[in-house]
């Protein structure tokens, strides 16, 4: 019988959680004073919260909203708010359906005014609803409500019928005005005109209501009204300009936290004489996924997140101590290859599979050497006998990983024009020293240290085995600071483990095959999901496809120029405008991640450096870690990212990879004049630019 416990990782998005669940599943980052210190909910300085999809923006913003404050403070919500010194008013921009405020035969200026008015009505209703929910029924409100209502009514220039005496009536009036506006907008596409009378001056209610309430009602004295505006990316440029204006013209006791995807901010301009809001002056920025990715405690945070999910699904009382102890034990819940000398346990299958047969990488080497001899590009070799000698010298039957290391070093020597027989003898000696732990074998040790993961990846590929993305640390690394990615990975792994009849987190560790299947599925989801709206989306995805193909070519070449190749550096100032634009879009969509700068080997210039998102690594069998970065030329960057230059990609990629392939390693084939009297090739004179 299968374990029928619901998958604890099924919900991967905050939007699918109720307020109670947002509270229940809340996990703080275990550094400093947690998210509250980073988000500063009591600070009057507005904040832009930027993050990729799944970075936890919505979870964070909802956590600071009034409904969550109420849950946290229980019966005494008013006192809780006073202690918090803020009250959070949460707005989802997608609920505004901002796409309707355009065209229909109306001017852009007209729509800008109508949208500003609509936002005024919308936010005012939200703030009044929040306030009524917090202090409705209190004697304080009862005593002051008529005066407050009368004061606020003066700000609305509309026929009010009977003058409202309660805030709920005022709210009803605002609702009525908003619905009239909805109707007028709706009809404008039919009748071709828009009749809207703007009854409120910009900002009068949004700032006026909090100011008056702060003066008249004691719970709101010294309380910041915090507008939490989420999904900012859903607004057009002119609509964002209006919100920016509110930020710029902010009046006490109000402030803003604006949540947006990294690509989501279209402008910093305002309607205040077209001035731009400046970071540090009008607002500060919290870059959520960068902050998580670079936080040393991200691993602990991620484990807590998982622990919390497991605790909640088991209905365990989830104290921090219980979660932490659960989190610490999580790594053991995932099967990992047994640690063994020279990865023997991971490569034993190969010994068995190729028992009595030539191993595939030796077959390739044999072919390379035959081609080399034929092309007179294999220094020191004259015939098949030499090939056999080399294969024997490089062989290490018991440890396939060492054989791969031997071959890598051999190719390196080949490219460095060494006599190949001598090179093979030297490598055999180095290998023996390294294997026995005797003598100096620095080159061997470093080669293996740097290229171990790549050599294993090549081994798996050579033998048609699936790459191994296993172990909790791997999944945390893959998530790159985006908690949703981690949850999606675990959701699929959990589902596969259940499908395979395992009891994840409740019995034996989750098998490697379940982990592999889950990772692949999660990676495919990430790849499929990363679609953008519009034509650029396709350009971005095509670029990522090319980049992945290039990295794969390098990783699985005979002599990779870089280890764990998943990163490139480039001088973007020399690349085409479109290439840079598409590259930036890819970055904003978290498909590539900027990882600092790299000094160019030849010019000392600091170039930008980007890693492909590790969630995509399984698509091309790449490494999730980054070590070496490939320095791409501007032409290569253009061929990868600029649609106009994409036809040049194949030849440029082939050319680069040829530099890592024998027998010529990217150099021209030899002519008769290159051959010396001894019959030895004499052409290795070109510069090595790898």
């Amino acid at each position: 019988m299968k374990d029928m416990m619901p998958n604890p990782f099924n919900i991967t998005k905050a939007v699918d959680f109720s307020d109670q669940e947002i509270n229940d599943y809340w996990v703080d980052i275990p550094s400093g004073h947690g998210f509250a210190a980073m988000t500063k909910p009591t600070s009057p300085m507005p904040m832009l919260i930027l993050g990729g999809k799944g970075s936890g923006k919505t979870h964070l913003m909802r956590y600071f909203s009034y409904p969550l404050q109420r849950i946290r403070h229980g019966q005494d919500a008013i006192r809780g708010i006073q202690n918090d010194r803020y009250i959070g008013i949460y707005l989802r921009c997608s609920g505004l359906n901002a796409g309707r405020f355009k065209n229909k035969g109306q001017s852009e200026e007209m729509w800008a005014d109508v949208f500003a008015y609509y936002m005024e009505l919308w936010l005012s209703q939200l703030v009044l609803n929040t306030v009524l929910s917090a202090v409705g029924g209190t004697s304080d409100l009862a005593k002051n409500e008529p005066a407050i209502t009368a004061e606020l009514s003066k700000l609305i220039d509309a026929d009010k019928g009977t003058a409202p005496t309660k805030l709920s009536d005022l709210n009803g009036l605002l609702r009525e005005l908003q619905q009239k506006l909805d109707g007028a907008i709706n009809n404008s596409s039919i009748i071709g005109s828009l009749s809207a009378r703007i009854a409120v001056t910009r900002g009068d209610l949004i700032f006026g209501i909090p100011k008056l309430l702060g003066t008249k009602l004691s719970p709101f004295r010294d309380c910041l009204f915090l507008y939490l505006i989420d999904e900012f990316e859903n607004l057009s440029e002119s609509q964002q300009k209006y919100v920016n204006t509110l930020v710029r013209e902010r009046r006490s006791p109000c402030s803003f936290k604006i949540g947006a995807r990294m690509y989501g901010v279209r402008t910093f301009s305002t309607y205040s004489a077209d001035e731009e809001n400046k970071e540090g002056s009008e607002f500060e920025v919290l870059r959520l996924d960068t902050l998580l990715r670079e936080n040393k405690e991200y691993g602990r945070f991620a484990r807590r997140l998982i622990g919390k999910r497991l605790a909640e699904s088991d209905r365990i009382q989830a104290t921090t101590v219980a979660i932490d102890s659960l989190a610490e034990a999580l790594d053991k819940c995932f099967e990992e290859p047994e640690k063994s000398k020279f990865s023997k346990s991971e490569t034993d299958f190969l010994i068995e599979k190729y028992n009595g047969r030539e191993r595939p990488y030796f077959k390739d080497l044999r072919k390379d050497l035959e081609r080399g001899i034929k092309a007179k590009s294999a220094p020191g070799l004259h015939g098949p006998g030499d090939i056999e000698k080399i294969l024997k010298l490089l062989s290490c039957l018991e440890f396939p990983l060492l054989e791969k290391a031997n071959i890598l070093l051999f190719y390196q020597d080949w490219r460095s024009k060494r006599n190949l027989l001598e090179a093979a003898r030297a490598i055999a000696g180095e290998r023996k020293h390294y294997q026995d732990g005797t003598g100096e074998s620095r080159r061997y040790k470093e080669g293996l240290l740097h290229f171990r993961a790549d050599l294993l990846a090549q081994l798996y590929r050579d033998t048609h085995h699936r790459q191994r993305f296993v172990g909790l640390s791997t999944f945390i690394e893959m998530s790159s600071g985006l908690p949703k990615n981690l949850l999606v990975l675990l959701k699929h792994i959990y589902a596969w483990a259940t499908f395979h009849g395992e009891k994840p987190f409740g019995g034996s560790p989750i098998s490697i095959r379940s982990q592999q299947a889950g990772v692949l599925e999660a990676s495919e989801w990430f790849h499929h999901d990363a679609q953008l709206i519009g034509r650029d989306g396709r350009f971005v995805m095509d670029s990522i496809e090319r980049l992945g193909t290039l990295y794969r070519g390098i990783r699985f070449s005979r002599k990779p120029s870089e280890c764990s190749c998943s990163t490139f550096s480039a001088d973007l100032s020399r690349c085409s405008t479109d290439a840079v634009r598409i590259l930036k879009l890819a970055e904003n969509w978290s498909l590539i991640i900027e990882v600092g700068g790299q000094r160019d080997r030849n010019t000392e210039r600091i170039d930008a450096k980007f890693q492909i998102n590790p969630m995509l690594a399984p698509q091309w069998d790449l490494s999730i870690y980054r070590r070496g970065a490939v320095a791409l030329t501007p032409e290569e960057v253009n061929a990868v990212f600029d649609p106009e230059h994409s036809t040049e990609f194949k030849s440029l990629a082939d050319k680069r990879i040829e530099r890592m392939m024998p027998p010529f390693f990217g150099r021209r084939a030899p002519t008769q004049s290159d051959i010396g009297r001894d019959g030895i090739l004499n052409l290795f004179t070109e510069e090595d630019h790898d």
Binding site: G99, Q179, S189, I533
Partner: protein, 318 residues
């Protein structure tokens, strides 16, 4: 409350003659490269016949039928209004038939609103079922380049600032990317999918579910989850409208729906059903009909002609 299922739905012969006397004053059809669209156009007897050529199909100049209305506006309201003013004018008591088969969905949806505005109270909709989709579950209908997700003109409704119990009901078609785009755009909504069952052909339901499964992470529910999956016949607009009513009634029986979004991405009869339901029951409420607008659609995605349906639609007065 109107019973949608008593509206007339009948079949017309594919090859043999249609009933004598079956004629309309005005016949409107959307031009595509599909045989099934031309087949019906030729069979219809009408006082005037009108081809609409939508820009999204990308027919080059000179490749449209003579006399067709070739509008360049990509806004559904602008396009339909321009066609109407150019080709139809005051409809008076003239009878109307519309072949919905080749229509691009937002144009069809707006047309229904436009007919209501123009005082049309009844019209016949024709729909031709294909034998199969060209590449079965791999069929690509649009270029999948979604330019925006927005409300369809005339179906924008009013809105409630309280978004705590918003719902999105998706008529789940084969375009899983469109499902994902809509679900992402309204990601805070609780989501329900309607699948076409019975499907047009026996194997199409399975293909439909296979495609919809790809959008599962965006929809946030497992495909087939009984609490969020409903079924309506792929070829019946009236049962689709009834199903929508049933879903809305069921989900709002506990906590009232704060905002309702409808997104018909499946067959044209189901699209018609969504539009009928909206105009009849949800027009002045916090309900809107949303759609992921694409740059281009394929001119031909099906093979063969299977059945021809005639639906007599009673248009609500506005």
């Amino acid at each position: 409350m109107i019973d949608y299922t008593i509206m007339y739905k009948g079949e017309l012969p594919v090859e043999s003659e249609w009933p004598q006397g079956l004629r309309w004053d005005v016949f409107i059809s959307a031009y595509t490269a599909a045989d099934r669209v031309r087949h019906v156009y030729d069979k219809v007897v009408a006082g005037s016949k009108h081809w609409l050529v939508f820009p999204e199909y990308g027919f080059p100049p000179g490749k449209s039928p003579a006399g067709a209305f070739v509008g360049s506006a990509r806004e559904e309201a602008e396009y339909v209004k321009a066609f109407w003013e150019n080709s139809i004018g005051d409809v008076g008591t003239r009878t109307i038939s519309i072949d919905i088969t080749g229509f691009i969905r937002p144009y069809l949806i707006f047309l229904l609103r436009w007919l209501a505005e123009r005082g049309v109270r009844r019209f016949d909709a024709l729909y031709t079922e294909p034998d199969r989709y060209a590449n079965r579950e791999q069929t690509v209908f649009s270029d999948e380049v979604v330019t925006e997700v927005r409300q369809v003109a005339g179906f924008e409704g009013t809105h409630n600032p309280d978004t705590s119990n918003d719902y999105l009901i998706i008529g789940a078609g084969y375009d899983d990317r469109l499902i994902a785009q809509v679900a992402e755009d309204k990601k805070f909504c609780k989501k329900i999918q309607i699948f076409g069952l019975p499907s047009l052909r026996a194997d199409m339901y399975q293909q439909n579910v296979l495609r919809a499964h790809r959008a599962e992470e965006s929809v946030g529910r497992e495909t087939g989850d009984p609490s969020s999956s409903y079924f309506a016949p792929a070829n019946d607009p009236f049962v689709t409208a009834s199903t929508l009513r049933e879903i809305v009634s069921r989900v709002s029986s506990g906590k009232p729906i704060t905002n309702l979004y409808l997104s018909p991405l499946a067959t044209k009869p189901q699209v018609l059903g969504f539009a009928i339901y909206y105009l009849t029951e949800r027009r002045n409420s916090a309900t809107s009909l949303i759609f992921p607008f694409c740059e281009a659609y394929n001119q031909e995605t099906t093979k063969g002609v299977s059945r021809i349906w005639r639906y007599t639609v009673e248009v609500p007065s506005i």
